[in-house]
Amino acid sequence: MARHVVAQVGEIPPGGRKVVDLDGHSVGVFHVEGEYFALLNWCPHQGARLCEGRLWSGLEGDVPGDYRTRTDRTVIACMYHGWEFDLRTGRSVCEPERLRVRTYEVTVEPDHPSDQDGSTLGRLSRTNATAHTFPVTVEHGNIVVDLRRTPISATVLGTPGARSEGNIDITLIPVEGSIHSGGAI
């Protein structure tokens, strides 16, 4: 339970990731161009280790032949069947209303208390408005994940037959932490 130090600042290079075990649950922490994201390492389709999938830019199109790369969006594609999830929201690209993977909020706390509400913090904050995201912060050079708020529900995780009926919400754990300024970000 509670807050977990998941990494040292600088340990996860830009474009990198780290998969950690938090209270018995596997969570992937990603570093994308100065932002941190945390995602449950479990694909809602057939349970693959989602966080080992490739990262892609968002890709949209209006008409045939239109491939619009959205570099402002990062998706992770499951290494099994390629289902895409928005790293920021955990929502399925194909069925955002119906399918989502639990995400965690990642924030970076500065080394010095005076930076706490400064612009550096704001830039790094990954506050997400949805009810299912949780903070990851970095404190004193450690990336910290907080599991205090929501326990993993075994039924949601585990029961075949619960899948694909109605909203699939792979609930996960809150993540909080802060990263020292002066790290890779």
Partner: protein, 385 residues
């Protein structure tokens, strides 16, 4: 599975597998508690494609390979979206599915696979030079014996044959028939003629003689389009196509009277899903009720032939948006539910995870049949575990 899987130690900065959840649905610990299964579509891959077969080729065909290489119909191939499952590549870095030891430790053991039916996707069947195709088929079967069947007693295999040269195919079938580990003869997803056509009857005759099943595995043979309306543009279309191709071949096998001539023949559709089976049977019977005079050799309604002679594997299992429709599908199958065989397609990207392959929880009796009983009965494999 939880008990046997070895998790690599977690490192600080890469994405190596973490301890929990374990791979591939194992968070449910289902594999460790459920009964063993029979996997009817397990791929043994040729590392380096045809080069893996060089040690098994005669000097004459080695020379041919070095001089000319293989020739298959050009222009019919769609690059797959992704390579084989990334986590299925052995530590040696060789192709996923190309090492029996790794298949054993990553898949057979943790997923409690009692038997796995190998289906190699070799270049033999599509060779335009039939003699070379026959040589590759023989080499591929020798490779299966030496590198898969001998080291791993849980494996059974498909006989690779040059299907477009039935005389050569029959010779290869006879060569393997005495080895009980070869359980079936492998067709590609779209032979040059519909599977029921007279051309292929010698193959079926040999299969019936030796009690071998016939399988048609999705894809393969690229000499004609995947559709009855020409070449589509995108791999997505190519990947929806096999279900249509298989239906055409089932229609042909039934209508052309193959099962009247070879009443013991059993045909298995592999990697085409199964959701299309009920409507195909309804349509067959409806058309036949009016056109039966054209096919007086048929002794019963076409759906009856399907029920007696056709088996299908599960993957890629249809996933209705409304799960109760999967129950309707099962109900519509009726007796044909005894002919549904679990298959994973390991280690391909589109493989179904054994413990997550269905959109609903199957009733226990049905679950046992699909995962084990149906295949055990079909292949004469014992009840175990």
């Amino acid at each position: 599975m939880v008990a046997t899987r070895q998790s690599p130690p977690q490192t600080a900065s890469d994405a190596s597998p973490s301890t929990v959840p374990l791979t591939f649905g194992a968070s449910r610990s289902a594999a460790s508690t459920r009964p063993a299964l029979i996997d009817c579509d397990l791929h043994n891959e040729l590392h380096g494609d045809v080069l893996a077969l060089v040690p098994y080729l005669s000097d004459r065909w080695k020379r041919h390979l070095e001089t000319f290489g293989g020739r298959s119909p050009a222009g019919g191939f769609y690059p797959r979206f992704m390579d084989h499952r990334e986590d299925a590549r052995p530590p040696s870095g060789r192709r996923a599915g190309s090492e029996v030891a790794f298949t054993r430790s990553q898949y057979l053991d943790p997923f409690r696979v009692a038997y796995g039916i190998l289906i190699p996707l070799s270049p033999a069947a599509s060779q335009q030079n039939h003699e070379f195709g026959a040589a590759l088929a023989k080499a591929c079967n020798d490779w299966q014996v030496a590198e898969w069947l001998d080291p791993e007693p849980r494996l059974r295999a498909s006989i690779v044959v040059p299907i477009e040269a039935p005389d050569l195919a029959v010779a290869e079938i006879r060569r393997r028939a005495s080895d009980p580990r070869f359980v079936q003869v492998q067709f590609t997803g779209r032979p040059q003629e519909p599977m029921g056509r007279r051309k292929y009857w010698p193959i079926y005759e040999a299969c019936q003689e030796y009690g071998l099943k016939v399988i048609s595995h999705a894809f393969g043979s690229y000499g004609q389009p995947i559709t009855g309306a020409g070449w589509p543009s995108f791999y997505l279309e190519d990947h929806v196509g096999p279900a249509q191709a298989m239906q055409a071949n089932i229609i042909s096998l039934v209508a052309e009277g193959v099962f009247d001539r070879f009443p013991d023949l059993k045909v298995i559709s592999v990697e085409n899903g199964a959701g299309w089976l009920p409507s195909l049977m309804w349509r067959l019977d409806a058309s036949w009720s009016l056109l039966r005079e054209e096919v007086p050799h048929l002794q019963m309604a076409p759906s009856e032939y399907v029920r007696r002679h056709i088996w299908t594997t599960t993957q890629p299992m249809e996933e209705p948006h409304q799960p109760h429709q999967f129950d309707e599908f099962i109900e519509q199958l009726g007796s044909l539910a005894d002919h549904i065989l679990f298959a994973s397609d390991y280690p391909h990207w589109d493989a179904d995870q054994p413990d997550e392959a269905f959109p609903i929880r199957l009733a226990p009796e049905l679950e046992h049949k699909i995962y084990y009983g149906n295949a055990a009965a079909l292949y004469g494999l014992g009840e175990t575990q």
